[in-house]
């Protein structure tokens, strides 16, 4: 081992200063010769003869120097450089081939590198916190109710924190917006609501000031806030005396105690938080802290060193069992589930990204097959050159090495251009990426990605270079040298290899096309599905009321009544309504309910429905049909009997074969969780969680009976969005000049944005499939046109013997079709496997969709026939005289 290292070291040294070593050896040999000559003279030879004899005795000086050079230096690298120089010359000599091969490869490598940079940033890069492997998320789960993971309540969190021995710390995080006033225009700031241990757990230091202390989380503590560097430098004007001064959040003063660096982000939050406040100070969540029921708090923790997640899970199982027996009303049936934080953050994006990476890998494979094909063709026409080399004494390994050097040069060229493409591609991707993709800010071409690209191009070049090199080195010298033109005949093996490559390309292209076709069809179904309401011409806007100022529900109702009344007097804005939440764009509120007089049949009979609070005009504005009964009207106010409207799905699921109208449901938004409401009507189903999810049971309540501290407006108007937005702003500020209007947008655009991830992957996979199709078509074109060239003689003879032009055409096209069918035969089962892998990404379409399969097969046959038709036409025009004379 040691000897090996010292050898290499001394070789490296010699290689780095070759001239010196060679010169030294030359003078050593010179001395040797002189001594030999001296001795010969001493023995009585004349000087001339003595010198000659000495030379003979020593051996060929040049040879010796050569051997010495090889022994001392690094011959492998030297011959590679020599080969590489030669390869560059060869590539220069055929610029067409070089351009096609390098570009094909650059596209493949560029696309792979770009996608890999996304995969790396989102899936592989460790989270930007100290010891990220120790970080886990903790959820409550209820298998009986089919709830895989949800938040917990603050009292439960306190028990977890106090009773466990496996976490060095546990903390919680929630997120919403508060209104910042008193510093310029009123604005909504993204707020992280945390328990004080949040920062210590993540082991982050503030830019200035301090993080929260445990005392800051106690009831009655003075309200404090930590602001982000961005907010400090922006809205707060980089105020140097910001620490200790106060800012108003929801009209309540908070003392600024720290500034977090711009690079810091809290986990699970995709947008950049601007302020952090202790949970106890939050106007919304703070009021829920005493309730043990409820699942709204996101918990995460840091495992103690050496504690595995399984150990922690076992401990949390024990704790949740204790909690279930201690507080059965709130905790029966609930367990705790721990998930590594990285996995939780990445979520279901993982599969989509891996599918894309797989797809782009297939594109590279096709590109490699294509280049291998080109190289095989070239190797055939170069067989004479190789035969000459072999005849002059080059060993098989040496020939393979030289041919591989050429492909490595080709691969590196492709790699370099590919990396340039990747830089551009990552930029293009970043603008395409859906906003809700986690960790999207970390995406870029960094060193790790560059290494990936280089390794990839090296592997690719060996992959496409090895087969042709092996074939070329095996060629029979005798026959190659004897062949006149070097192209009249071609080994059957080589031709078979080329046909196999072409068929494989078609099979791979088929896989990609089927996957892309399925995604495309499912996407078009997704975007054309009826959401149950009519989004056309609807503008949505959000107004949030600061809770410290608007603390009473009466104020909320008064505000919304006033706003709607004002808006409805404006021309073009009569169709205005309020809803919280607005379907799809706002998320959903899922609440339990009871049917008065009908106890649940069993434990597993979960009575859950999505809850919406709306003003009476909502159904008219959104065109949600009334199926029976009546809608809300202006008389459904707090003093009137509590009422509700249910969706068709709720009626069918919980009131089969009976009329629900007149029956009562018990439910409500916390803290009024138990209000008995009479069902007064049934309305149509709405896809309120996402376009892709089937409509579930829903229950509506009149906003006047269940108001919120804010209003989400939906306005149906043929006026432009900006006019509507300006009118809304004007009306809102007439009521309260400190209220910001946020998230103004057209509902169709917002629905569009809700499927941005699906659009992103469909677009990319489609792009890759088109690349694959083009590459496969050129592959077929190459094989067929080369085969026509090789068969010029044969075709000439056939024509001379009376074969018709159309028979020749048919012959060539048959060859094309044979290749295509072989490709399809392999491709169809592979495509079916692939489509099952992406099965869960499909909407409204089966993974075995025969229409997609047939369409793809037809496209492939059509495109490859076209690709074969061009050389076939050339074959048709072969002049028998010319062809025969050619020999």
């Amino acid at each position: 081992m040691f000897a090996w290292i010292t050898t290499l070291a001394s070789r490296m040294c010699a290689w780095l200063s070759p001239g010196h070593v060679d010169r030294e050896f030359a003078s050593e040999l010179e001395a040797h010769l002189d001594m030999l000559t001296d001795e010969n003279i001493r023995r009585g030879m004349p000087p001339e003869q003595a010198r000659r004899a000495a030379r003979i005795k020593l051996g060929g000086v040049t040879q010796l120097k050569e051997t010495n050079h090889e022994l001392r230096g690094l011959p492998l690298i030297e011959t590679f450089l020599q080969d590489a120089r030669y390869a560059l010359r060869m590539l220069q000599k055929s610029p067409g081939f070089t351009a096609v091969a390098v570009l094909t490869l650059a596209l493949g490598i560029g696309a792979n590198t770009a996608i890999f940079s996304v995969v790396y940033a989102v899936l592989l890069k460790p989270l930007p916190y100290a010891n990220p492997n120790q970080l886990v998320s903790a959820f409550q789960a209820n298998t009986q109710e089919g709830i895989p993971e949800t938040g917990t309540s603050y009292p439960n969190f306190e028990e977890w924190r106090a009773q466990n021995h496996v976490f060095s710390e546990l903390a919680t995080i929630d997120f919403h917006q508060l209104t910042l006033t008193g510093r310029g225009e009123p604005s909504e700031v993204d707020t992280c609501v945390v328990t004080p241990e949040h920062f210590a757990l993540l082991d982050v230091k503030p830019l200035q000031g301090r993080v929260f202390f445990p005392e800051d989380g106690k009831r009655g503590a003075p309200p404090v806030v930590i602001v982000s560097e961005n907010l400090w430098r922006g809205t707060l004007g980089a105020d140097p005396k910001i620490l200790g001064s106060s800012i108003n959040l929801d009209k309540r003063p908070f003392t600024v105690i720290g500034i977090m660096p711009a690079s810091f982000r809290s986990p699970f939050i995709n947008s950049k938080p601007e302020v952090w406040i202790p949970l106890v100070q939050d106007p919304l969540f703070g009021s829920w802290m005493a309730r043990r029921g409820g699942h709204w708090l996101a918990v995460f923790g840091r495992l103690k060193p050496g504690v595995s997640i399984a150990q922690a899970q076992a401990e949390m199982d024990a704790i949740s069992e204790r909690l279930a027996s201690e507080f059965p009303a709130e905790n029966k049936g609930w367990t705790v589930r721990l998930v590594p934080m990285q996995k939780e953050i990445v979520g279901d994006v993982r599969t989509a990204l891996l599918v894309l990476l797989g797809a782009v890998g297939l594109v590279l494979l096709i590109a490699c097959a294509n280049i291998a094909n080109l190289l095989l063709t070239r190797a055939t026409s170069r067989s004479k050159e190789i035969a000459v080399r072999t005849a002059l004494g080059a060993g098989r390994i040496r020939i393979i090495r030289q041919l591989l050097s050429e492909t490595v040069v080709l691969g590196l060229l492709g790699g370099v251009i590919g990396i340039a493409l990747a830089y551009w591609g990552v930029r293009a991707l970043s603008s395409l990426l859906p906003d809700n993709l986690p960790r999207v800010n970390a995406i870029r071409v960094d060193n790790f990605v560059l290494i990936f690209a280089l390794v990839l191009s090296a592997i690719a070049s060996v992959a496409f270079g090895l087969v042709p090199a092996l074939f070329a080195s095996k060629s029979d010298i005798q026959s190659s040298l004897r062949e006149g033109s070097g192209r009249s005949g071609e080994g059957g093996n080589r031709r078979r290899a080329r046909s196999c490559l072409a068929a494989a390309e078609i099979a791979l292209a088929m896989v990609l096309l089927v996957a892309a076709g399925l995604l495309l069809r499912s996407f078009s179904k997704l975007t054309s599905v009826s959401p149950g309401f009519e989004p056309q011409h609807i503008v949505k806007a959000e107004i949030s009321l600061p809770q410290f100022q608007y603390s009473k529900p009466q104020q909320w109702t008064a505000f919304s009544d006033q706003l709607l009344a004002h808006l409805q007097t404006q021309p073009g804005l009569q169709d205005s309504a309020i809803a919280i939440p607005v379907p799809i764009t706002d998320g959903y509120i899922n609440l339990g309910f009871e049917i008065v007089g009908v106890p649940p049949a069993s434990q597993s009979d979960s009575r859950l429905a999505n809850y919406v609070s709306v003003s009476p005009e909502y159904f008219r504005v959104m065109q949600i049909p009334l199926l029976s009964g009546r809608l809300f009207d202006q008389q459904d106010i707090t003093s009137a009997p509590a009422v509700t409207l249910i969706s068709k799905a709720l009626a069918q699921r919980y009131f089969p074969n009976q009329d629900p109208i007149g029956k009562h449901l018990n439910f409500g938004f916390p803290p009024n969780g138990d209000v008995s409401r009479e069902i007064i009507g049934i309305v149509g189903d709405v896809r309120d969680t996402s376009l892709g999810d089937a409509p579930g049971p829903m229950m509506y309540v009149p906003f006047a009976q269940a108001p919120f501290w804010g209003a989400n407006l939906v306005v149906k108007s043929t006026l432009s969005t900006s006019v509507v937005a300006a009118a809304i702003r004007q009306e809102v500020q007439k009521i309260d000049k400190d209220l910001p209007v946020t998230d103004v947008g057209k509902l169709p655009d917002l629905l569009d944005a809700s499927v941005s991830q699906q659009r992103f992957r469909t677009f990319l996979l489609g792009l890759f499939a088109v690349m694959a199709l083009i590459l496969a078509a050129t592959g077929i074109f190459g094989v067929i046109s080369y085969s026509v060239t090789c068969r010029t003689n044969e075709i000439g003879i056939r024509v001379a013997l009376g074969a018709s032009r159309s028979a020749i055409l048919r012959m060539i096209l048959r060859e094309t079709l044979l290749l295509t069918s072989a490709g399809l035969l392999i491709g169809i089962p592979c495509a079916l496997i692939a489509s099952h892998l992406i099965g869960h990404m499909l909407f409204g379409i089966s993974a075995n969709d025969p229409i997609t399969l047939a369409a793809v097969a037809f496209t492939l046959v059509a495109v490859t026939t076209l690709a074969g038709f061009i050389p076939a036409r050339r074959a048709m025009q072969v002049d028998p005289m010319v062809a025969l004379r050619h020999e």
Partner: protein, 114 residues
């Protein structure tokens, strides 16, 4: 030429060079070549140049070291001497060599009798 054969020859020559340096102390390439020819009573007629490959290999393994100096008749030449590691290697190899040659000799005698 097959690889095995040249390997044996290389190893043999290396061993002879090491032994020569061990016995003679610092000596130049020509001196080593002469010495090997003399010891073998001119039976081993080598191209003297071939010992240089051997010297390079031994240098690279740090079994010998080399330094420029002046020869008896006032010529500049590179003098080689065996290192500590080289002496260790020589002992091990020499033992190995003797064992092998004894075994081979025994086998050949056996074959003669058979």
């Amino acid at each position: 030429m097959s690889a095995d054969k040249s390997d044996i020859l290389q190893g043999t020559l290396d061993l002879m060079v090491l032994k020569t340096l061990d016995v003679m102390g610092p000596v130049h390439g020509y001196g080593i070549a002469r010495r090997i020819e003399q010891i073998s009573e001119e039976a081993l007629q080598i191209n003297q140049g071939t010992i240089y490959a051997s010297l390079v290999r031994l240098m690279q393994r740090r079994w010998i070291s080399g330094a420029w100096g002046t020869s008896d008749n006032n010529r500049k030449a590179k003098f080689y001497s065996i290192t500590k590691a080289g002496r260790k290697q020589l002992n091990a190899e020499a033992e190995n060599w003797e064992r092998i040659s004894t075994v081979i000799g025994r086998v050949l005698r056996l074959a003669d009798r058979g």
